[in-house]
Amino acid sequence: MEKRMRFENKEEFLAALRDLAREGVPQERIRVETPFYVHEVDEIFPPKPAKVKNFALLGAASGTVTGFAFTILTSLSWPLIVGGKPIVSLPPFVIIAFALTILFGALSTFFGFLHLSRLPSLFGVIPEEEFGNAFVITVEGEKTE
C-alpha cells in the first residue's frame, strides 16, 4: 500500500514531513520529489554521507598520477634534450598534471553522479506521471512478512 501526499506549498510539505518523522516512519519508506533542492529535508531526515566526493577524489588523484606518469615515461622513452633542459623536467610537467587532475576529477565526479543517481533512466525520459512544481511525499507500505 502506498500513500501519496501532494503539496502546493513548501511549508505545508515540510510540516507533513516533520509529522512523519515524529511518527517514527523510517526514511527508507519515504520517497520525496521536489521541484528544487530543499535543504530542510536533510534536517528532518539526516541523509547518509554523499558518496560523490569519493569519485571526485579518486578522479583527481588518478589525473595527477596520469599527468606525471605520462610526461615522464614518454620523455624517457625517447630521451631527447630540448633547450638544454633535463629529460625529466618536473616544473613544466606539473602544468600537464594540474590540467589532467582537473579534467579527470570533473569527469569522474560527473560519471559518479550519474551512477549514484541511477541516471540516465530510460523510464524517466518521458515519465508516466509528473508532479510539476508540486512537493510530493510517497510513503511506501510496511513490508508484511
Binding site: P35, I102, L116
Partner: protein, 431 residues
C-alpha cells in the same frame, strides 16, 4: 500565493523566451551566419592559396589570428568566474547571469579553438599537437608552452561543457513538461530522465559543488598558461613575471564586458527585467571596475619593470609601444580599458543599463586592441634593428576576425531559442 503558482510563473516567464522567434531574430541570425560563412570562405581561400594571403610574415609571425585566440579565451573566463567562483562565494546575484555566461564560455572557447588551426596554415596537421603513439615513437615536447596550451584549453572546454550541461539537466526536465511530440522526447533524453527525487537532488547538489571547485582554479590557470606562450620566450615586452596575473585580470575584465554586451539586449528583448535587475547589473559592474583597476595597475607595473630593468631592449620596447608605430592602438587601449571604466565609480552610472552596454562595447574593443598591441609591438621590434618590421592585417585576416564574431553570435542566438536562458531551478530555489 501558493508556492507552486510562483514557481510556475518563473517557468513561464523564462520559457517564454523559447517561443517562435520573430523577424528581427532571423535577420540577426542571418547576418551572424553570413559573417561566419565569410570566415569559412576566407579560410578556404587561405588553405588553397597559402599563408601568403595573411599579413603575417617576418618578423611579425603572430598577428591577428593569435590576437583573436587570446581574446576569445579571455572572453570565456568571466563565464566560469560567474558560474563557479561566485557559486562558491554564495553570491546570489550570479543566478541572473550564470546560464548566459556559461553559454558564452562554451561558445567563446569553440571560437578560440579555431584560431590555432587557422594560424597553423596546414590545418589538417593539427593532430600533431596531441600526444599520440606513432610509428616513430616520438612524443610531443611537454616542455613547450604550446603543448601546455593544448592541455589547458581542452581541459577548460571539456569542464565548461560538463558544467554547462549539468546546470541544464533539471531545466531540461522542466522544458520536457511543456513540450509535445518529438521535442518532448529530445528534451526528455537531454534531461537523462531526471525526475527530481531526493536522491537525485542530493547527489546533484554535491556534483555542482565539486564541479564549481574544479572549475575555480581554471579561472586562474588557463589564461596564465596562455600568457606563458609569450612570457616563456625572451622577446622584450613578453618576458616578464607579471604576465600571468595580468592576463587573468584582463580575461575576467573582457569577459565581464561581453556578459553586458550579451545580457543587456537579451533582457530587453526577452522581457526578463523581473529576473535581471539593476541591482544585479550593479554587482557585475563592480567586478568590471575592479578588474579594470587591476589591468590599469598592470600597465603601470609593466612600464615600471621595464624602466628599472636596466635593459635597453626592454626600455626601448615600452617606449616604442607607447610612441612608436602602434601608438594609436596603445592609446585606444588606455582610454577604453583604464580611463572610461573609471566612470563606474559613480553609482548612478553603475545602475544605468544602457550606459553599461555602451561601456562594454568600448571595453571589448579595448581588450582586443590590448592583445594586438602586446603581440605585434613586441615582435615588430625585438633585438636586431636589421630584423625590424611592421605588420598590418590583410583583408583575409580582417574577414576571418569578423567571421569569428559571426560564429559566436550565431551560436548565442541559437542558444536563446533552444535552451532555457536563465537557470529556472536556481531562481526557484532563491524565490
Amino acid at each position: 500565493m501558493e508556492t507552486t503558482d510562483k514557481l510556475a510563473q518563473v517557468e513561464q516567464d523564462v520559457l517564454a523566451a523559447m517561443k517562435r522567434p520573430g523577424k528581427a531574430y532571423f535577420v540577426a541570425l542571418g547576418c551572424s551566419a553570413t559573417l561566419f560563412l565569410v570566415l569559412l570562405g576566407l579560410w578556404g581561400y587561405q588553405v588553397r592559396t597559402g599563408m601568403g594571403v595573411a599579413g603575417i610574415t617576418h618578423p611579425v609571425g603572430w598577428g591577428v589570428y593569435i590576437t583573436n585566440f587570446v581574446f576569445w579565451v579571455g572572453i570565456a573566463h568571466s563565464g566560469t568566474l560567474i558560474s563557479a567562483v561566485l557559486y562558491l562565494f554564495r553570491a546570489r546575484f550570479r543566478t541572473s547571469f550564470n546560464r548566459p555566461a556559461e553559454a558564452m564560455t562554451v561558445f567563446a572557447l569553440l571560437v578560440a579553438g579555431l584560431f590555432p588551426l587557422i594560424h597553423l596554415g596546414r590545418s589538417w596537421k593539427f593532430f600533431y599537437l596531441f600526444p599520440y603513439p606513432t610509428q616513430r615513437h616520438l612524443w610531443v615536447n611537454f616542455r613547450s608552452p604550446l603543448i601546455w596550451d593544448v592541455f589547458a584549453v581542452s581541459t577548460y572546454l571539456t569542464v565548461s561543457v560538463v558544467f554547462f550541461y549539468v546546470g541544464l539537466i533539471p531545466d531540461f526536465a522542466i522544458v520536457r513538461r511543456y513540450k509535445e511530440g518529438l521535442a518532448k522526447r529530445i528534451y526528455g533524453l537531454l534531461s537523462l530522465g531526471w525526475t527530481g527525487t531526493r536522491r537525485q537532488w542530493k547527489n546533484y547538489n554535491q556534483l555542482y559543488l565539486f564541479l564549481a571547485a574544479f572549475a575555480t582554479p581554471l579561472v586562474a590557470s588557463v589564461h596564465s598558461v596562455v600568457s606563458w606562450d609569450f612570457a616563456m620566450s625572451i622577446i622584450p615586452g613578453w618576458h616578464t613575471t607579471i604576465f600571468a596575473p595580468y592576463f587573468v585580470a584582463g580575461a575576467i575584465f573582457s569577459g565581464t564586458a561581453m556578459v553586458f554586451t550579451l545580457v543587456v539586449p537579451m533582457r530587453k528583448i526577452l522581457a526578463l527585467d523581473r529576473y535581471i535587475t539593476a541591482d544585479h547589473f550593479e554587482s557585475l559592474a563592480k567586478i568590471l571596475l575592479f578588474t579594470s583597476l587591476i589591468v590599469s595597475y598592470s600597465y603601470v607595473v609593466e612600464f615600471g619593470l621595464a624602466f628599472y630593468s636596466g635593459n635597453p631592449f626592454e626600455m626601448e620596447q615600452f617606449r616604442y609601444r607607447a610612441l612608436g608605430d602602434y601608438t594609436v592602438m596603445f592609446w585606444i587601449m588606455i582610454v577604453c580599458n583604464s580611463v572610461i571604466p573609471l566612470t563606474l565609480f559613480a553609482k548612478r552610472l553603475r545602475r544605468n543599463v544602457t550606459y553599461l552596454f555602451v561601456l562594454s562595447l568600448f571595453v571589448n574593443v579595448g581588450m582586443w586592441v590590448e592583445r594586438f598591441v602586446i603581440i605585434v609591438a613586441s615582435l615588430a621590434r625585438d633585438y636586431d634593428p636589421y630584423a625590424w618590421g611592421t605588420y598590418s592585417p590583410s583583408f583575409v585576416e580582417v574577414g576571418i576576425t569578423l567571421g569569428s564574431f559571426g560564429l559566436f553570435f550565431s551560436a548565442y542566438l541559437v542558444f536563446l531559442k533552444t535552451l532555457p536562458v536563465l537557470s529556472i531551478t536556481e531562481i526557484k530555489e532563491h524565490l
